[in-house]
Symmetry: C2
Subunit: 118 residues, 2 copies
C-alpha cells in the first residue's frame, strides 16, 4: 500500500464520520438556540461560543429548510437602522426539539452501554 | 391548511431529523460493539439489547463500507458447522472510534450549554 494512499484513506473516513455525527447534532443546536429569537449573526455567535462553529453557507440553507418545515419562523425587522431577519422556534418546533433531545439522550445511553460492555 | 397536509408536514421533518441524528451515532455503535469480534447476528443482537435496532439492509452495507475504509476487518470461519463472517475493529479503527467518541462528548456538552442558556 502506498504511503499517500494510506494517509488519505485514514483521514477521509474519520472526517466523513465526524461530519455525519455533527450534522445531526447541528440541527438540534440551531433549534435549541432559537427558543430565544435571534438573527443570523447572533445565532452563529451563540453557537460558536458554545463550541459549534457553522459557516454561513451551511447555516442559511439549514434555516430556510427548517422554516419551510414549519419548525422555525422568521421576520424582517429594523434594529439599529439595519433590517435584520429574526428567527425563532415555532409552536410546532418545540415538541420536535424536545423529542430530538430525548432521542439523543437515549442514543447516548445506548452508546455508553455498548462502549462499556464491548 | 388542510389537516392531512399538516399531519404529514409535522411528522416528516421529525422522522428525517431523527434519522440524521441516529445515522451518525449508528456508526459509533457498530465500531464500539466490534472492539470484540462478532458476526452479523450477534452484532445486531448486541445493538438491539442496548436500544439500537438496525435492519440487515442497513447493517451489512455499513459493515462493508467500514471494512473498505480499513476501520473493520472480517474473516470467514466455521462455528457450529456453519460458515460465519466475523468482524472486528482494526488497529486503525481504534483511534477513529476514540476520536468520534470524544467528538460526541464535545457535541453533547455544547448542546447542553445551548439548551440551558437559550
Amino acid at each position: 500500500m502506498r504511503r499517500e494512499g494510506r494517509l488519505v484513506s485514514e483521514a477521509a473516513p474519520f472526517d466523513n464520520l465526524r461530519l455525519e455525527l455533527r450534522r445531526g447534532c447541528l440541527v438540534l443546536a440551531v433549534l435549541a438556540a432559537l427558543k430565544r429569537e435571534r438573527y443570523g449573526y447572533t445565532l452563529r455567535t451563540r453557537l460558536e461560543e458554545n463550541g459549534i462553529s457553522i459557516d454561513e453557507g451551511t447555516l442559511y440553507p439549514l434555516l430556510r429548510r427548517l422554516e419551510a418545515q414549519g419548525l422555525l419562523q422568521s421576520e424582517w425587522r429594523e434594529e439599529n437602522r439595519r433590517k435584520k431577519r429574526f428567527y425563532r422556534l415555532t409552536r410546532a418546533g418545540k415538541p420536535v426539539l424536545s423529542a430530538l433531545l430525548d432521542e439523543l439522550k437515549e442514543l447516548n445511553a445506548s452508546l455508553n452501554r455498548i462502549t462499556q460492555e464491548a
